[in-house]
């Protein structure tokens, strides 16, 4: 039997234990915790001693954070050996006044880099979680060529300078973009259908 109720879906035969709920939101404010979770998520064989070696916090704190993450169900010890961890993906959705915002590992990864990129904290502190998450998604839209950076600024209400700083940070962190730059477009590269008339096409729309 599988549980599928108003609040619980896909629970399987035996619903797992999720405690330590504050850890989910702490991931958005605690750089070291976010960094530890992100490191485990990107590594298939992260052991506790290796995590201690690369962390910016003490050994004691690393073990304390590992315990927190484990209690929240965000990491599990694998069968490959003692103290080898793997991360679980998650999505924590909040809905307030009909606005829905999801906290995901992708957002947590940004927090893990907020020491390197001060713009991350600046946007979170000054504009809040919804704008932060919106800007994150719009940077992905920019990488897909769907919007311009000025559009991103208008849609989020960020200043042009802050929008650019955030774009640069997120491209770096998520490794967005092409392999070679710049690409040069000529009129032949972007010419439309020979029968088509751009003016009619654009202005009719």
């Amino acid at each position: 039997m599988s549980y599928d109720t108003e609040h619980v879906r896909n629970a399987g035969d035996i619903p797992g234990t999720i405690t330590g709920i504050p850890t989910f939101t702490e991931l958005l404010t605690n750089t070291a915790l976010a960094s530890l979770y992100t490191t485990i998520r990107h590594s298939a064989t992260a052991t506790a001693p290796e995590l201690v070696e690369t962390a910016d916090v003490s050994k004691k704190t690393v073990y304390e954070y590992l315990r927190k993450l484990e209690q929240a169900g965000l990491i599990t010890e694998t069968e490959d050996g003692p103290s080898v961890y793997e991360a679980e993906d998650f999505e924590l959705t909040l809905t307030i006044r009909d606005v829905e915002v999801s906290i995901t590992p992708e957002l947590v990864e940004l927090i893990a880099h907020d020491d390197e990129y001060p713009v991350i904290n600046r946007v979170l502190d000054d504009h809040g979680l919804v704008i932060f998450a919106l800007a994150h998604d719009l940077v992905n839209a920019h990488a897909d060529g769907d919007i311009t950076i000025r559009q991103l600024a208008s849609l989020t209400g960020l200043s042009a300078g802050t929008a650019y700083d955030l774009v640069e940070a997120l491209y770096d962190i998520h490794d967005l973009g092409g392999d070679s730059s710049p690409t040069t477009f000529t009129p032949d590269d972007v010419a439309g259908n020979e029968d088509g008339n751009l003016r009619d096409e654009l202005l009719t729309e």
Partner: protein
């Protein structure tokens, strides 16, 4: 043949405020490529700091003073005008670019009128110079395509539109002789 390079805001934001080594490299590359950088007035304003006194531009003022950056006179065109009522090519190009960006966007009708100024300036430079190549530089894909797509509608084909992706590659790939020089392919 004169080569003009029209540069979007994002390129200067990527290089940073003056003085710095990226801007010094850019200055050397501009001289070696025997070109000039052109910036629409609206983009100058976008990058300026407005303190108590007159505005200063920490990205562009040194280049303007030294003569390798040129700010274009304000471009014609009012966004609220109907396209058919506009009779000047530069303003028409700006309207077409605005529509093109809306068509390309995932969020139509939210694009910024400033984006279209790059295309309008391109057409203006073609109209005022018989022997000219234009190279545009931006980190927005749809705008880069608009820069190559719209001028041919007015009979101008000598354009290279460079698109920097990821944007931060502009730091190293823009201030070079190669990027500022006409590509004959």
């Amino acid at each position: 043949m004169y080569t003009a390079n029209i540069v979007d805001t994002v390129m200067f934001r990527s290089l940073g405020k003056q003085p710095n080594t990226y801007l010094q490299s850019l200055k050397r590359a501009v001289k070696a490529a025997d070109t000039e950088l052109w910036v629409p007035a609206t983009i100058y304003c976008e990058l300026a700091d407005y303190g108590d006194g007159s505005p200063v531009n920490p990205y562009l003022d040194d280049g303007i003073e030294e003569g390798w950056v040129r700010i274009a006179m304000p471009l014609p065109g009012d966004r609220s005008d109907d396209f058919d009522a506009v009779d000047e090519s530069v303003a028409k190009a700006r309207h077409l670019a605005d529509s093109f960006l809306n068509q390309q966007s995932k969020y139509p009708e939210t694009n910024n009128w400033r984006d279209a100024s790059l295309v309008a300036l391109t057409v203006r430079l073609f109209e005022r110079n018989a022997q000219i190549h234009v190279i545009t530089h931006t980190a927005d894909e749809s705008l880069a395509k608009a820069c190559a797509r719209i001028p041919p509608e007015f009979g101008y084909y000598e354009i290279n539109s460079r698109y920097y992706n990821p944007p931060q590659t502009a730091k190293h790939d823009f201030p070079t002789v190669e990027s500022l020089t006409w590509d004959r392919r």
